[in-house]
Symmetry: C2
């Protein structure tokens, strides 16, 4: 726990953000130790007097702590501005919303592009492999520094949902409620396979330089763009791709060449290009690795319910999307069954949509309405006015 | 049509194979002309006296003319040895089976790695973009040289199925029957997207050298391997990947690094590595492009039935696989509906399997039994004994 002065400063991080520096070593699942930790985060709203209205938003793979308001780099709205803000489902007039960049990220939290205090050089591939549980440990360090003993809610989609599940497993006493959107209790073989394609694309880029590209002043942009393109397909449903692009051409007629003839090609190339401007290749390697290692039941002899055995007092809401083939509804149902078996109260909503996995941060009124309903009901139960 | 001597020689190509050299220019859909054409092919069985028992097998994207018997390079069985051979569904004791390497391929038929007779140099990216219809044109040139006016059957899976559909559209009078397995009447936005990832991976490899790698004595192996890995995932179902690999590890425990920890990673890397030994990167670009351009209805104002209007006397059998997400059953149903609307007789069989798209050349007894049944029934109708 930080002293009062630091805490007060951190509580005023706001949408512009702040960085917690913790001099305490962070011991990781691998056994490795990070000698000191920085956690970059933003906050929205105000912490109430009894510190009971804090909501931790956990971000997905390639996003960051800028969940709402303008992103200082891109100038665009935060990635979850539809959900986090005044009058939104995570209503910043009622809740104090915190979002921190994950461990191994590239937006201010300690990661492979940070300076290793031991060597004075960029970590690169000497950064230790981290897990989703390690990400959650770093978030717990932040909450300690903010003086928040219990979260009113932990909320996340995709990898953020896995962090929320990990919170329920590792720190149930620090949760009043948890919202898990479009997630899974473990990475499937197909999930791992797609990530491995992305990693191989990055590592095949000669500018990756065995992870030491920063020292060489280059970046494996082509490999990272290919990784992004492959992953991006998995975020959308086949139906959404067909509806948005079909076989529509960029120009009148085919080019009879290898330029982007089809709008879907141009769209994918664009996704790859803009991604390399905002994301670090090594962070992509480490975070995908953390996801592939994610298997919440593994530490409990394969019994997922055991992972939640101490979480029976937490109120859960689990969402899935009918057209999500990255983390299909069946995997959300596994989570819900395990929560039920553990005796926790769990609501489950499958949202009918053709938007695929990315539905969790797109315009999806049914999700937003159901999320708001759950939050309001939980707020009443918690005595938040 | 070749003279009798050439024809006789070609008819004895056999499993070892032969190459037709046609001095006649081949005019392509793009308007470009290939000044002279080579078509590499193998045959299995014997052509009967009235030349009525010929079966053309059309190969999928990355395969070749070695459908049966031992492959001269790999030493393994031909890719469809389960289907083509004595007593097999395409029974070489009854039928004369021909399989030719596609135009733009890399196994002996004219393609981007061939010598451009005009310049005396390897075509590379100066090779014209070809279509599935152009592939079929090259096959028709081969049949002319073999003196085969009408095929008893054209049979193909995946891209081979698209060639079979194109045959039915362009040369219905040369078909008695057609078998279309795990195909689609057009490439969807998602199909195009996956191919574009593969092309971008190849073109991102500095050893690609704008397609001129042959002159430089290098090969874009890393890019091609990544392309293969991405595509390979689409050939398998999520369920099959889970059944075969799940989250099984290569060794006891995690490596806490970026080696292949999971068996599925090791499998994918292996798929990428063996592929670069047997396939050419530019051929991959050209053949994926041909597939992405494939849209049988486009030349008929979007009316697929019109594409089959001259094929009402052809007997069709269409197969799909319940777990194929590359070319799902719904797309086979579109084909069948269009065939019905055109007045053609079409059987349709959806094979229940978890093997995904690749089921068409795996051990799939239900497919083999149904295919044999269709062939035998068609043989009776054709008067083949």
């Amino acid at each position: 726990m930080s002293d009062g002065e630091t805490m007060g400063g951190l509580l005023e991080a706001g949408a512009a953000g702040a960085t917690l520096t913790s001099a305490a070593p962070l011991r990781l699942d691998s056994g490795a130790v990070i000698p000191s930790l920085e956690v970059a985060f933003c906050t929205y709203g105000r912490l109430n007097a009894d510190r009971s209205n804090a909501v931790l938003v956990c971000h997905p793979l390639t996003l960051d702590q800028h969940a709402s308001a303008r992103h200082p780099k891109t100038g665009k709205d935060g990635w979850w501005a539809r959900v986090v803000g005044p009058g939104r489902p995570l209503d910043t007039d009622r809740y104090f919303v915190i979002c921190s960049n994950v461990l191994a990220g590239c937006s201010g939290t300690t990661g492979p592009s940070s300076i290793d205090p031991t060597s004075g050089e960029v970590y690169g591939m000497s950064f230790p492999v981290v897990t989703v549980a390690d990400m959650v440990r770093a978030q717990a360090v932040l909450l300690d520094a903010l003086g928040i003993d219990q979260l009113f809610a932990v909320v996340g989609g995709s990898m953020g949902g896995m962090q929320a599940l990990q919170w329920a497993s590792d720190y149930p006493e620090r949760l009043f409620s948890a919202v898990v959107i479009g997630a899974a209790p473990r990475h499937s073989a197909q999930n791992i396979a797609f990530h491995e394609v992305g990693r191989q694309a990055i590592m095949a880029d000669p500018d990756w330089r065995a992870g030491d590209y920063a020292k060489a002043g280059v970046r494996p942009e082509k490999g990272l763009a290919v990784a992004r393109m492959a992953a991006h397909i998995t975020y959308l449903s086949e139906a959404a791709l067909q509806r948005k692009f079909g076989r529509e051409l960029q120009r009148d007629g085919l080019s009879w060449g290898f330029d982007a003839d089809f709008q879907v090609e141009s769209y994918l190339r664009h996704q790859g290009q803009v991604f390399v401007d905002r994301f670090d290749a090594n962070s992509y390697l480490y975070i995908t690795r953390a996801l592939d290692y994610f298997d919440l039941a593994a530490a409990h002899e394969g019994n997922l319910a055991q992972a939640f055995r101490r979480a029976r007092d937490v109120r859960f809401c689990v969402f899935s999307f009918s057209s999500d083939w990255l983390y299909p509804t069946a995997e959300s149902r596994q989570i819900v069954r395990a929560l039920n078996a553990a005796g926790a109260r769990a609501s489950f909503v499958e949202i009918e949509t053709d938007k695929g996995h990315d539905a969790f941060f797109l315009e999806e009124p049914a999700l937003h309405a159901a999320l708001e309903g759950f939050m309001t009901s939980a707020a009443v139960a918690r005595g938040l006015t």
